[in-house]
């Protein structure tokens, strides 16, 4: 049997795509929250642009920030909710005695997260064009660099949350929302990191999103693409996602030792 099989990863994706196909409210909900968020911040941005020189200097800086924040937020939820779906439906036992390997389960969760994030965030990005005459796509290739980095941070958080849910049960499922918002104050989504107290700034710089959002602002204010910020974010992300993936696989092993793979469900 091959060590890694794209067919088995595809089977896992198919399982989640069947759920989506069978439930249009789910699809609508995925796109709904990012769109509402964008609309609220769009009006806020319009108000601030006439009252704040900082915002006025770079049109769409707040809308861009909220759209990119949603990439990270949805990236995290995409992993965590797809994993919890297996627990809610008490399907983890069947999956665990199928030839699906834990690393393929992780790959399937990440791929599902990408699909869910695209469904959630792209409509909001497109909606911003007619509503606020702001196209995030004008950022060009750097948008891809920001997207990928934030997505990977979301994956790292989602994998860590999934590991905790596997270890401690569905009682800690709210971590899917709690953990990502714990990062938000330090991520500098809507403000520069220099606003934070001095003792908090090193903590912020230890997080990839701080580099991404700072880089986004630099670009939008005409400072060009900051390669150092990009390298920092990418390096930190590699570290965090490897650690989170390792944690998930370790907890999966612990679950096999403690008998947690069968005793799951609502």
């Amino acid at each position: 049997m091959t060590a890694f099989s794209f067919r088995r990863v595809g089977a896992l994706l198919l399982r989640h795509l069947y759920i989506m196909r069978g439930s249009w409210p789910r699809l609508l909900e995925m796109a709904y929250w990012p769109a509402v968020n964008m609309v609220v911040w769009g009006f806020t941005s319009q108000f601030f642009s006439s009252h704040s020189q900082w915002v006025a200097q770079a049109g769409g800086i707040l809308i861009g920030a909220v759209l990119l924040w949603d990439v990270m937020f949805r990236g995290n939820l995409g992993v965590a909710l797809s994993f919890m779906e297996e627990m809610w439906s008490r399907n983890l036992g069947h999956l665990s005695v199928s030839p699906l390997r834990p690393v393929e389960l992780v790959a399937g969760l990440l791929a599902m997260s990408l699909i869910r994030t695209l469904i959630g965030v792209v409509p909001a990005m497109l909606l911003a064009v007619p509503l606020y005459h702001y196209s995030i796509f004008d950022l060009g290739l750097p948008l891809l660099a920001f997207w990928v980095n934030l997505m990977v941070t979301g994956w790292a958080i989602g994998l860590a949350v999934s590991a905790m849910v596997l270890r401690f049960g569905l009682g800690v499922e709210s971590l899917a929302w709690v953990m990502v918002f714990a990062v938000a104050p330090l991520a500098g989504i809507y403000y520069p990191i220099s606003v934070l107290p001095g003792w908090l700034q090193p903590l912020a710089w230890a997080l990839p999103p701080a580099h991404v959002f700072e880089g986004m602002r630099t670009l939008m204010q005409g400072g060009g693409f900051d390669g150092i910020r990009f390298a920092c974010a990418t390096g930190l992300n590699a570290l965090y996602v490897a650690a989170a993936g390792g944690l998930f696989l370790h907890i999966h092993h612990v679950a096999r030792r403690r008998g947690l793979l069968l005793n799951v469900g609502e």
Binding site: M1, S5, R7, R8, G10, A11, L12, L14, R15, Y18, I19, G22, S23, E85, S89, R90, N91, G93, H94, L95, S96, V97, S98, P99, L100, R101, H253, R256, R257, R258, G259, L261, L262, G265
Partner: protein
């Protein structure tokens, strides 16, 4: 000599201070049907979980289909399957969708034809496109069997295969398992509380109590040794610590 389908030796499982499985050893011959009998908490499901690789033993060895299950479970998993009333298939997916997903996971060639074959064998046609969560207990049992049969398993592990089924459906399931085993020469290991089922299906019975195998033999052998009329009486003797033969009959 033919390699046994299952070879377990000195198997122990501790959950903290609790010893759930206590130094058991047994062999299941290829092509046979074996039952693990025991009351609640006897260690049946824990043993099955270790055989499936869902649970790591504290110590001991497990060989399944000639492979070390602890070190090489991914060599074995494509050749076995299992069914349990305590593990569901996703409720929101239809029966056909569930079988398709698991068919891809097991790498089944000509999957639509295999699903059609199982649909005919297990009489799933009426509810093939219905969500799995909206089926009756009997229908769910048949779908669980269909999933368990997808890969033509050489070894089938069944946890209480007829639990919560009416007598008619339970009898039908037993008939299906017998036909499958005869046709494919498969090995079946089941954990059950249902003595009629065990008497009808099994060549060998392992009786577990408090994590140990306290007796074993064919159903006929156990009934004769305990001087009882049915396996249920034997089970009660063991559960209530009555010794076999003369003492049991008194």
């Amino acid at each position: 000599m033919e390699t046994p389908a299952i070879l377990v030796d000195h198997l122990v499982k501790d959950f903290g201070p609790v010893r759930a499985v206590d130094d058991i050893a047994f062999t299941v011959a290829s092509g046979s049907t074996t039952a693990i009998l025991g009351g609640n908490g006897a260690g049946k499901t824990t043993t099955l979980s270790m055989l499936l690789g869902l649970l790591l033993p504290t110590s001991g060895t497990i060989q399944v289909l000639g492979e070390d299950m602890i070190r090489h479970r991914y060599r074995v998993l494509p050749r076995l399957n299992f069914s349990s009333p305590y593990v569901d298939l996703p409720h929101r997916l239809t029966v056909r969708e569930n079988l398709t997903v698991y068919g891809h996971l097991y790498g089944i060639a000509a999957l639509p034809a295999r699903i059609a074959e199982l649909t005919a064998d297990l009489d799933l046609g009426e509810f093939l496109d219905r969500p799995s969560g909206k089926l009756s207990a009997g229908q769910k049992a048949r779908v669980a069997l269909a999933k368990a049969m997808l890969n033509h398993p050489d070894l089938l592990l069944l946890d209480e295969p007829t639990a919560s089924l009416d007598p008619d459906t339970a009898d039908w399931v037993r008939g299906f398992l017998t036909r499958y085993q005869q046709a494919r020469g498969a090995t079946i290991l089941l954990a059950s509380h249902n003595m009629t089922e065990v008497e009808r299906l099994c060549d060998q019975v392992l009786v577990m109590k408090a994590g140990r195998i306290v007796d074993r033999g064919s159903p006929e052998d156990l009934i004769a040794r305990y001087g009882r009329a049915t396996l249920e009486d034997v089970f009660l003797d063991i559960a209530r610590n009555r010794r076999h033969t003369g003492e049991a009959a008194q």
